[in-house]
């Protein structure tokens, strides 16, 4: 496979991993020999969390599989911005079929490579499927659950930006309560997305008792690479759910993607953990606990909570959700040991 020449302009920063670390501790992205699976020049928005997450995830998977990787992609931002033909950004064999079938297409690819390997035609080729939250938690959920329960040899990666961004920011089942979207407008008695709806697919993935489930954010890319790498050492159905902030849909300056991803984790709103079968095996503890306001305030999708008269009741409900996550997943280490 031809390699892009990768130049690191950010010398002296930590952007692409600390090259003072030993080779084993460096990130995949810190290596100029990385695949750059999702090439530069694609058409994602400035500050796109999904583009960042996808490049790190797929490069890590390529590194872990000795570049023997095929990807199936759901319809969505990632698909559209990466392949305005003839300018595909993908440096790996890649297929887009439909919005709701990425997991099933990946199952088919995995079955095909298994047969071809049995016949001695190819080596150990691995398969990833990827999609946004709409393609994963909503329209692709049937195929995803089917792939999980059959324990097909596929790593499914969900890039969760909490709404249908590609079609103009409509609510998905991953949209958080109170968030403004084009279909949950901040009007009426209960502005924004309603409370008591939505689903957290990592927990549902765990209920399938698949070998590996993990969550990650683009705020900790080393952690993301570690999880993808670990997933590729395993067989069977695996699921990684990555929180990828969206400047357009969430309404924040594009240089705040990493900060907001970090705040989602530090507030407890997005628990970062690993699980094997149905047991949580590790959590990324909150380093400096933040109130949810710190996370909500910079985002225009929550602006209606912070007018002249802040909607303290709604903010308290969101805080209660964060607190529940902190207890449930043991995100504060001392609490985790108490409950441990």
């Amino acid at each position: 496979m031809p390699l892009q020449v990768i130049k690191f302009y950010q010398t002296g920063t930590f952007t692409v991993g600390n090259r003072l670390l030993s080779a084993d501790d460096r990130s995949v992205q810190a290596n100029t020999q990385r695949t750059n699976s999702l090439n530069s020049g694609h058409r994602a928005c400035q500050g796109c969390g999904e583009a960042l997450g996808a490049r790190y995830a797929i490069d890590a998977a390529m590194n872990a599989t000795d570049r023997q990787l095929i990807a199936a992609n759901a319809t969505g931002c990632l698909e559209v911005f990466s392949t305005p033909y003839p300018e595909t950004s993908w440096q790996i064999p890649w297929i887009h079929s439909l919005f709701g079938n990425a997991a099933a297409v990946a199952t088919g690819i995995a079955a095909a490579v298994k047969v071809k390997k049995q016949k001695g035609l190819i080596g150990d080729v691995r398969v990833v499927a990827q999609g946004g939250d709409g393609g994963t938690t909503d329209i692709g959920f049937g195929c995803l659950s089917g792939m999980f329960e059959r324990n097909d040899d596929v790593l499914y990666i969900c890039y969760d930006n909490e709404a249908y961004m590609n079609t103009g920011v409509q609510r998905s089942s991953a949209t958080p309560p109170a968030a403004r979207t084009a279909t949950t407008m901040p009007v009426g008695a209960h502005p924004g997305n309603v409370f008591g709806q939505g689903k957290f697919v990592p927990a549902i993935a765990m209920a399938h008792e698949i070998p590996y489930v993990a969550t990650a954010t683009v705020a900790d890319l080393h952690d993301l690479e570690y999880k993808v790498t670990k997933a590729m050492t395993m067989r069977g159905a695996r699921y990684i759910h990555i929180l990828v902030p969206c400047p357009l849909g969430w309404g924040y300056p594009s240089n705040d993607t990493i900060r907001l991803a970090r705040l989602a984790k530090e507030t407890g709103l997005f628990p970062v953990f690993e699980a094997e079968y149905d047991q949580i095996t590790s959590t990324l503890p909150i380093r400096r606990r933040m109130p949810v306001e710190e996370y909500l305030k910079p985002q225009k999708r929550f602006a209606h909570l912070f007018g002249k008269k802040p909607d303290v009741g709604t903010i308290a409900r969101i805080q209660a959700h964060a607190d529940k996550n902190i207890r449930k997943y043991g995100l504060l280490q001392e609490e985790f040991s108490q409950h441990g």
Partner: protein
């Protein structure tokens, strides 16, 4: 080898002889016995180098087949009726991407009202989806068409549906001549994909195509079907030299050379029609048959040639274009646009309503007298229909139509004649 077997099992064996590599299965009557048969062969080790996957829906079945085919292996599935409709988005995707998947459609009615019996509404609803559609008249033909279908699909990089009448063929035990593995291997070479997800030569498949190229890509779908029009008769000949049977091709005529009346139909009903015509011939009626094997691509020229010397054409179809009449007859009419003859559309056998020789005798006699209406619903019980229409005229909340009519019919197991 001659054997007495069920149509579904014959197809299962034929598909297995084609050395499929990924089979995805989701149950729906009446195709279930086919994938059950193949599943057993894979599990027992009789069929090797094949992955059999029990999926969670027909949408997933076609999607798994898409992934497998794009990764360069021979993929097969089977479905019917609601299952076919449930996978429609993926069906268009498979043909749009040019993936040579072969699928059996055990033709069955579409609900509502739910009905498991045979007609052609399911695959004909997918008339324009870009798949080739071949219709089998007998179990032998169903078996043979599958072997031809893999070759045709893979040569053209286009998916093929082999359509066989649900229950009438799938569940009928008949004598079939099962080919040997050597015969099939000499006819069907290993799959050489035009496009493949290959780590040594990575490509992107399924990119967005805008107005600058969409027309051209779509035209290619048509061009490929036109290639199929040429290739299908050739394949039938090649098949004949190896297997010694005249199977496949675009159309089949029967006693049509001197016929003044020609009946056009698809699938197993051709048998009943031929029997009826044999009987009518003994009393001197000049009547013949045109059976259409290749519904898509539709052989306009062959149909025209077969019908041009007749005085009248009766298209008897197990499908209905609601609001206009017939589906198949619209295509036949297009083929005859330069000809002057009387054309009749007969919608028959919907939802498994039996098409009997008695009814066909009456129908064809009426046609011969040119007394047939342009559109006929064979053996329709007008009393039942009118009774319900009257109910709707007089009562606002007349209730669900199907249940009302069933209540009118009363307690009989089913009306088959």
């Amino acid at each position: 080898m001659l054997k007495q077997t069920e149509g579904s099992h014959a197809v299962a064996e034929a598909v297995a002889l084609c050395r499929p590599e990924v089979i995805c299965a989701y149950p729906i009557s009446p195709q279930t016995h086919i994938v059950e048969g193949i599943g057993e062969m894979v599990k027992s080790g009789q069929l090797t180098n094949c992955e059999f996957i029990n999926v969670e829906s027909e949408f997933a079945a076609m999607s798994v087949a898409i992934g497998a085919s794009a990764a360069g292996v021979r993929a097969y599935t089977a479905t019917a009726s609601q299952g076919l409709l449930y996978m429609v988005e993926a069906i268009y995707n498979a043909s749009g991407l040019g993936l040579p998947i072969v699928m059996t459609v055990a033709n069955r009615a579409i609900g509502a009202p739910i009905n498991i019996w045979n007609d052609h509404s399911d695959s004909l609803s997918q008339r324009d989806c870009g798949w080739i559609q071949l219709f089998a008249e007998t179990n032998q033909e169903a078996l043979d068409l599958h072997i031809q279908a893999f070759k045709l699909a893979e040569e053209l990089s286009l998916p093929v549906m082999v359509c066989m009448d649900g229950f009438i063929l799938t569940h009928a035990y008949e004598r079939v001549d099962m080919p040997s593995q050597e015969q099939v291997d000499s006819f069907l070479p290993p799959y050489e994909p035009r496009q493949v997800l290959d780590t040594t030569d990575p490509v992107s498949i399924g990119a967005m195509v805008g107005p600058e190229a969409f027309m051209e890509v779509r035209y290619l779908a048509h061009a490929k079907q036109m290639q199929a029009l040429e290739r299908i008769p050739q394949l039938a000949k090649e098949f004949n030299t190896i297997f010694g049977r005249d199977t496949g091709g675009l159309v089949h005529t029967y006693k049509s050379e001197d016929a003044e009346t020609i009946v056009v139909a698809m699938g197993s009903v051709l048998g009943t029609i031929k029997d009826t015509i044999d009987e009518m011939r003994t009393s001197g009626v000049k009547i013949g048959v045109l059976g259409i094997t290749s519904y898509r691509p539709f052989p306009l020229e062959e149909v025209r040639q077969a019908l041009q010397n007749a005085k009248r054409v009766v298209v008897l179809e197990k499908s209905m274009a609601v609001g206009i009449g017939g589906i198949l007859s619209t295509d036949v009419r297009l083929a005859l646009s330069s000809e002057r003859l009387n054309g009749y559309t007969v919608v028959a056998g919907l939802g498994g309503r039996a098409i009997t020789k008695k009814s066909l005798h009456e129908l064809f006699s009426q046609a011969n007298r040119d007394e047939l209406p342009a559109l006929t619903f064979l053996d329709l019980d007008w009393n039942m229909v009118n009774k319900h229409l009257e109910r709707e005229r007089t009562v606002r909340r007349s209730g669900p139509a199907a249940e009302n009519i069933l209540r009118d019919v009363g307690v009989i197991a089913s009306k088959i004649s």
